[in-house]
């Protein structure tokens, strides 16, 4: 086919057409956002490819991989050791600790809220000596690269609003997710792939909604594009039966020829844009299958992740995330389901750790080995934490935990994050925050900050209001920054 250069020449029938097909849209927006053009050329570090005329800070994280653990893993059993809970297992949670705070309809009917300690032991890991559960031996090995936030907190107490809040800054549907904001504000440097990709794994447990990788009020092109492990990796990227690559190229050439004739006759620059879109679509037809084919990865790499070509798994998705990062895809959002352990927690959490621990750690290690970790922010976490008290009866190997938004643990690695540290502290019961709480909006502000964006300045006007990811609050967690 033709290069963009050739395409442009083909289109220079009238000068005004050139204007609309070159990639200078950011400049037009610059004056709208700031009232003046940026000096982007003088400060290449601040170059933006999206709606922002230029970045506000030198970006540490050029891309983000967010390993979202849907259903809300228990911080008490994995990241936030509470010996006091072990000691007091079976005793009523002191009412002074709960302080009359809201609990869900699933445990509000229980006559007692009996505390229960973690299901497994905690061990000190790495040079930093951060304690995490023995259920996460692989994460234990990368502990010096991660910043463990033990004092995350959020507002909603149920899954749907909580995921929506953490990813869009608002509990009710309608707003863009972090990835859509990043795609909109920063754009992409990859010519063949979308800037925001979603990968799904796991089954059972809490449902997902496409709004979790949605564009909200932003135009549809900022929606996360789902890359799938079965069927077409991207919807309709494969030719239909009976049309091979050669035929496809012939037909596309025909389409482009006819569209060019129309452009000549009608003169609408939108036609030139369409011609370009078809060119990109053709490139995606090769780049996407190539990206998704992990069978070419060396055996050692597959083993490191626990990935198996052709299978749908979290491990495969972590490996794909690295491949996407290598190709400079701006934002990759993974979802892994089934962390909602209201009952049978000790067994279920063990199973989930078995499915995710190795691959999560492998991703960080692999990025580091390839020199990509410094410029790639990896985030691991769910939508809230779980209660210090048991839902249902307690037996040595069976208890459950209800939803707990008042504190939970999330970790970040790479992309300008200072590793080997713990941020924030919860009380002896893992119930309330004692020190350095990180609100969902603070967390979002920090992600944007690492990407070089001032969260108060990435806005979009919708229905008369300039909206932003962090709504009206949000403070960057300075301690996290390297």
């Amino acid at each position: 086919m033709f290069s963009p250069q050739e395409l442009r020449q083909a289109l220079t029938r009238r000068t005004f057409l050139t204007r609309s097909t070159t990639c200078l849209g950011g400049a037009a927006l610059a004056s709208l956002l700031n009232g003046r053009l940026s000096a982007a050329e003088d400060a290449p570090d601040l170059k933006s490819y999206g709606a922002l005329p230029q970045l506000h800070f030198a970006p540490k994280a050029k891309r983000v991989i967010y390993l979202f653990q849907s259903g809300a893993p228990s911080h008490i059993d994995l990241f936030d050791p509470k010996p006091e809970l072990t000691k007091r297992t079976g005793q009523e949670l002191p009412s002074s600790v709960r302080g009359g705070q809201r609990i869900t309809g699933m445990t509000s009917g229980q006559s007692q809220l009996l505390m229960v300690g973690p299901s497994n032991k905690f061990v000190r890991c790495g040079a930093s000596g951060v304690e995490i559960s023995e259920l996460l031996p692989h994460t234990g090995k990368i502990v010096d690269d991660i910043a463990l936030i033990r004092a995350m907190y959020t507002e909603p107490i149920n899954h749907d609003p909580a995921v929506t809040f953490l990813l869009t800054g608002n509990q009710q549907p309608g707003r863009p997710t972090i990835g859509a904001w990043a795609a909109y504000g920063l754009g992409s440097v990859n010519k063949n792939l979308p800037e925001f990709v979603a990968l799904l794994s796991g089954g059972g447990g809490q449902p997902l909604l496409s709004r979790y990788w949605g564009n909200g009020f932003l135009p549809g092109r900022y929606q996360g594009v789902q890359f799938r492990s079965s069927g077409d990796p991207v919807l309709y990227v494969n030719n239909p039966p009976g049309i091979d690559a050669g035929t496809r190229r012939d037909l596309l050439e025909g389409i482009q020829d006819l569209n060019r004739l129309e452009l000549g006759a009608v003169g609408d620059p939108e036609i030139a844009t369409r011609i370009n879109a078809y060119e990109m679509a053709y490139r995606m037809q090769t780049s996407v299958p190539d990206l998704m084919d992990i069978s070419k990865e060396p055996e050692s790499v597959l083993q490191m992740y626990g990935a198996e070509p052709g299978k749908a798994s979290y491990a495969n998705n972590c490996l794909l995330a690295r491949r996407l990062a290598e190709r400079d895809v701006r934002y990759v959002q993974l979802y892994h389901r089934d962390w909602d352990h209201h009952g049978n927690l000790p067994n279920e959490i063990k199973r989930q750790c078995g499915l995710t621990d190795r691959a999560s750690a492998a991703l960080v290690t692999d990025l580091k080995q390839r020199g990509l970790l410094d410029s790639t922010l990896v985030i691991w976490g769910g939508e809230f934490g779980r209660t210090a008290y048991s839902q249902g009866k307690i037996s040595p190997d069976n208890f459950g935990r209800d939803h707990h938004p008042r504190c939970f643990s999330v970790w970040m690695a790479g992309g300008g994050v200072k590793g080997g540290q713990v941020i924030g502290k919860t009380d002896d019961f893992g119930y309330n925050i004692v020190e350095d709480g990180v609100h969902a909006h603070d967390f979002q502000a920090t992600i944007l900050r690492l990407m070089g964006v001032d969260h108060t300045k990435l806005t979009y006007r919708y229905q008369g209001r300039d909206f932003r990811l962090t709504d009206v609050t949000g403070k960057v967690v300075e301690k996290l920054l390297a």
């Binding site: 107490i157 991207v234 496809r248 009608v266 003169g267 679509a281 037996s395």
Partner: protein, 1041 residues
């Protein structure tokens, strides 16, 4: 100006119908109007709004220095410090000027940390405005429109109707000429899409081109307006606004039924219901005197919002969300006002207070609905609307039941339970088998497992089956299972009972371990056979009980487990069972309980039966038994006796067993009928409405002062003679002096036809919205709409009959430079078709389109697994995509099942919203994913093939005439020689290819479920399919031009 955002990947344009960043609206308007006296509304208000209102606007809590700049009476008042912000004509005395012109050392306004400094031009505008006398006007949108005079125009021959004068006068002011009229075929294609959403047929094109009579075009317009497709086309935008969908939206996102409401909308447009009536029936049809069923259906407009039942959520929280949604939607749809801000605080830009938000809220707060609802169709209040046949059936069943009740009565009277016909005759067996699960799971069971609902795979012979028709099976690598919970009634366990299940292990692929798990609220009841691979529970305890080696492979074995040994005590109620395995292929069959508890019917005296206090009896019967015999009333005695005879007494079985069976059949028929009867959600008022409180910062847990229903003060009061309720609110919206409703509505119809509203921000007519591109035109249209009694068809006709509409849409360099977005209408409208029309067009062009009107939603092709991967599963609806077949595959796209959590890809890819919330405007993007969709989605490949079939049959004998016909079907015009040459090249090359590769040809023409005529040569059809694929991807074909 058109903003093109072009990123490296897509490198494609997004037309920001929405606006990026701040301060967007005045630039364009300013460019177009020569420098004249400063006009407050046009030039100054947006400066105040963008730069000052945050601290000097309507929000009393944020106001500083006592300065308020959104209302005249405040703007000229003395400030806290005694100064005057504005003194008309006197810059020096105007404190506002002093501050905005101040140098940095004197802290100019707005403050630097606010981040929105005034540009020199804006400062100059403020200066000139003050010097010129600081003339104030109220915000234009809150003043009722007045009919403007027709403006003078130079070119008197151009206008075809009054509307054209406003357009031409503006063009002439800019020194632009209108474009020539487009050719007839193009005009027909344009107006056909605009009024029906469908392309014209070649016959329609020929007829119109041939008709040279003066009224030819008007005839076409009238024909299109009378077509039933008109209502379908007009409905789509309304469905976006009404956030119509077929699922509940939150969390599990299961199905609801609202299609009757959608059908009502389509019919209302087709009947040309005036917009004021359309408004009143949808907002308050239920409150109209002797409301008809149709009016009640219409009132469902404000039940379309999402509904939640997530476990553990607080019903009060969601009740408040539903009402908020109604407020925001109603304000957006009718008032073009973004009232959502006032949920938490007074509006920062427009004259609406937080209290007014909750007064508006009170109109919608009296619905007898549940905060958590929707688990089953439909959330209340809802209405069953049987078809005439269903009504007849219902009557029939009713009659049968009445007759049946009589028979029971007489049989009971005849029965004489004999105390002596006892134990000997119907002696209960020592043990009996209660089968719980055989060919189907028990009632109430929620099917789950590794693959969700799909985990349950029932097979029939020749697969191994032990009992009945079916067995269920699973093949696993590692740990895998299928199970259910929630069986109702549960299986009652008594002391000494044994649980059993039949199993058959595949000799070719035996498992390493099998496990049965039982659920009585917890799964901690497990028994396993074979190796110890499954890691649940504690070994050798009731939650992991070893039962010995695996049974012999290749034969059915009965597994039996002592209920007490797995921790199920006397009295336990079991609601679920799990079939778990490690590796291998396993078949399972009949499962249940062996019990010594006699079945209820074994009792032969009423006293013995009563004494047994069977916990499985219906609650009312148990309650009666609990009443001491001496204290029972006669009716109570009769009821107990009747029950005993009908269901328990051994001697009465021969008479009553068949009768009871008949009764069950009747009940089932009734249940089936009820399930088949369409339901729809409606509005209704509680007898005693809920109190409404201002919610502090919008927090449902934080109630402020109590408020009553009312409309915002900055708008007219309720018209005389209406009640202060929803009906009054509806009538208020369509009162002739309402400044917003007519303007907002005509602006939206305008947008539908011309691409961008006269007010671009059609959802926001407030001070942050865009200034109208032609205010007189907007007011002319609004007043005309009201004068024509809100007649929508007449209004649409007005738009499409205009000279402006009929212009050629070709873009000249001059127009592209001066008016790239065509806001002034120097040319005809040209833009990509909306999502639904793109698919409908392909179906229509090929001839696949099924024109059936209305009815429930359908499920066209969709890539497998999309729903299932995100679904919760269980027995909830809309978790598994069950694709339609036959004609339902080819319905118009507005009938495609709208699942909010995963809308159909063919629609979202082309910018259709997910319908979670009210959507006023769709962006129009142009992306590679759209290209992939049109190139490869089976519906477009099938359409191309069927188009090929049509062309081979109808397009004449030679290739050239067939190519011309195909092109004309797709574009309504004939191809140029150059275009024909390209098409010929494609056809010849593909034909040669497919003649060589018959396999590929057959594969291509086999895409899609529609039948392929056997007589057509496969290679030739494949080549035509390839041509069709090219045509359906052309920019021109997916564009209204």
């Amino acid at each position: 100006m058109r903003i093109r955002l072009v990123a490296a990947f897509y490198c494609v344009s997004v037309i920001f119908i929405g606006t990026a960043g701040a301060a967007n609206q005045p630039a364009e308007a300013n460019q177009m109007v020569p420098v004249a006296k400063v006009d407050f509304n046009h030039d100054v208000r947006h400066i105040f709004s963008n730069h000052c209102y945050a601290c000097h606007g309507p929000d009393a809590n944020k106001r500083k220095a006592g300065l308020r700049l959104d209302r005249k009476e405040d703007a000229f008042k003395k400030l806290k410090n005694g100064d005057l912000a504005l003194v008309p004509g006197d810059l020096k005395k105007s404190a506002l000027w002093d501050r905005v012109s101040a140098t940095e050392d004197r802290k100019p306004m707005p403050p630097a940390d606010f981040g929105k400094p005034l540009s020199p031009k804006e400062i100059d505008t403020l200066k000139r405005w003050v010097v010129e006398g600081a003339q104030w006007e109220d915000h234009w949108a809150y003043i009722a429109p007045k009919r403007p005079q027709l403006p003078e125009v130079k070119n008197k021959s151009w206008p075809r109707n009054d509307m054209d004068y406003f357009i031409l006068s503006r063009l002439e002011k800019e020194g632009l000429q209108p474009s020539p009229e487009t050719d007839k075929a193009a005009l027909l294609r344009r107006v056909s899409f605009d009024l029906t959403g469908l392309p014209p047929t070649p016959a329609e094109v020929d007829a119109f081109v041939a008709d040279s009579s003066p009224g030819a075009y008007e005839k076409v317009v009238d024909r299109l307006l009378a077509s039933p497709a008109y209502g379908e086309r007009m409905a789509v935008q309304w469905l976006d606004l009404a956030r119509y969908a077929d699922t509940n939206g939150y969390h599990i996102d299961n199905a609801r039924e609202m299609w009757l409401w959608r059908e009502w909308v389509i019919n209302a447009f087709n009947k040309d219901m005036p917009f004021d009536q359309f408004t009143v029936e949808q907002l308050a049809g239920d409150l109209l005197p002797s409301a008809t069923v149709d009016q009640k259906i219409a009132s469902g407009f404000n039940r379309n919002q999402m509904v939640n039942f997530e476990g553990g959520a607080d019903p009060n929280e969601y009740l408040s969300k539903y009402v908020e949604d109604r407020v925001v939607t109603t304000a957006t749809v009718w008032l073009g006002t973004t009232i959502a801000c006032t949920e938490c605080h007074d509006h920062k830009y427009d004259p609406f207070t937080q209290k007014e938000f909750y007064q508006f809220y009170a109109f919608f707060n009296g619905i007898p609905e549940n905060g958590l609802d929707g688990q089953k169709v439909n959330p209340v209040p809802s209405l069953n609307v049987p078809t005439p046949e269903q009504t007849a059936k219902q009557k029939d069943i009713q009659n049968k039941r009445t007759a049946f009740a009589e028979r029971i009565k007489s049989e009971v009277a005849k029965a004489h339970p004999n105390e002596s016909v006892t134990s000997a005759a119907v002696k209960p067996p020592d043990t009996r088998e209660v089968v719980w699960l055989d060919d189907a799971p028990p009632p109430g069971a929620v099917l789950q497992g590794n693959e969700g609902t799909a985990s349950w795979k029932f097979v029939t012979k020749p697969a191994p089956v032990f009992s009945g028709e079916k067995a269920h099976t699973r093949t696993a690598q590692g740990l895998s299972q299928h199970f259910f919970t929630g069986a109702t009634p549960p299986l009652h366990i008594s002391a000494g009972d044994k649980l059993f299940a039949y199993v058959w292990l595949d000799p070719k692929n035996p498992p390493k371990e099998i496990m049965l798990q039982f659920n009585d609220g917890s799964w901690e009841h497990r028994a396993y056979w074979g190796g110890n691979h499954i890691d649940w529970g504690v070994e050798k305890t009731p939650n992991r009980l070893p039962m010995g080696p695996l049974p012999e492979v290749g034969k059915w074995t009965r597994l039996e487990v002592d209920a007490q040994a797995v921790g199920l005590a006397d009295g336990a109620n079991m609601n679920g069972i799990a079939f778990t395995q490690f590796d291998g292929t396993v078949y399972w069959d009949k499962a249940g309980l062996v019990t010594r508890t006699p079945p209820a019917m074994a009792f032969t005296t009423q006293a013995a039966w009563e004494a047994a206090k069977d916990a499985k009896l219906p609650k009312p019967i148990q309650d009666l038994i609990a009443v001491a015999p001496a204290k029972r009333t006669d009716p109570q005695k009769a009821e107990l006796r009747t029950y005993f005879i009908r269901y328990v007494d051994g001697g009465s079985r021969p008479v009553f067993d068949p009768l009871n069976k008949e009764d069950e059949q009747l009940k089932k028929a009734e249940a089936d009928l009820n399930a088949a009867t369409p339901s729809t959600m409606v509005m209704q008022e509680m007898e005693k409405p809920r109190d409404t409180f201002l919610l502090i910062r919008g927090d449902w847990q934080n109630k402020g002062e109590k408020v009553t229903a009312g409309v915002p003060k900055s708008l007219p009061p309720l018209p005389p003679g209406v009640k202060n309720d929803r009906l009054g609110l509806a009538k208020w919206l369509v009162a002739p002096d309402h400044p917003l409703t007519a303007r907002v509505t005509v602006n939206r119809y305008w947008e539908q036809i011309f691409g961008i509203g006269i007010v671009r921000t059609s959802e926001d007519f407030g001070s942050q919205g865009e200034w109208p591109s032609n205010p007189q035109l907007l007011d002319y249209l609004a007043t005309e709409f009201i004068a024509q009694k809100w007649d929508v068809k007449k209004f649409m006709k007005l738009l499409v009959m205009s000279a402006a509409y009929r212009q050629s849409s070709h873009v000249t360099p001059e127009l592209e430079q001066k008016d790239p977005e065509n806001r002034l209408l120097g040319r005809g409208p040209r833009f990509r078709l909306p999502a639904e029309m793109i698919r409908d067009n392909a179906l229509a062009v090929s001839g696949l389109l099924n024109r059936q009107l209305g009815g429930p939603s359908v499920r066209p092709y969709q890539p497998p697994g999309l729903w299932e991967q995100i679904a919760f599963g269980g027995d909830f609806s809309a978790q598994t995509y069950l694709q339609s077949h036959g004609p339902d595959l080819y319905r118009r796209s507005l009938y495609t099942f709208a699942k909010r959590s995963l809308p159909h890809p063919s629609l979202v890819t082309f910018d259709a919203p997910n319908r979670e919330v009210c959507t006023d405007r769709r962006p129009r993007t142009n992306t590679p994913l759209q290209a992939l969709e049109l190139l490869n989605d089976p519906i477009y490949v099938e359409s191309a093939r069927v188009l090929g079939q049509r062309v081979m049959k109808e397009g004449g004998a030679d290739v050239a005439s067939r190519l011309r016909y195909a092109f004309k079907l797709s574009t309504a015009r004939l191809p140029s020689d150059q275009e024909l040459a390209v098409l010929r090249r494609i056809y010849d090359k593909q034909l040669a290819k497919y003649q060589k590769d018959k396999d590929a040809a057959l594969k291509l023409v086999s895409v899609g479920e529609s039948k392929r005529p056997a007589e057509l040569d496969v290679s030739e059809l494949a080549a035509w399919t390839a041509v069709g694929n090219v045509l359906l991807n052309l920019d021109e074909v997916i564009t209204k031009g």
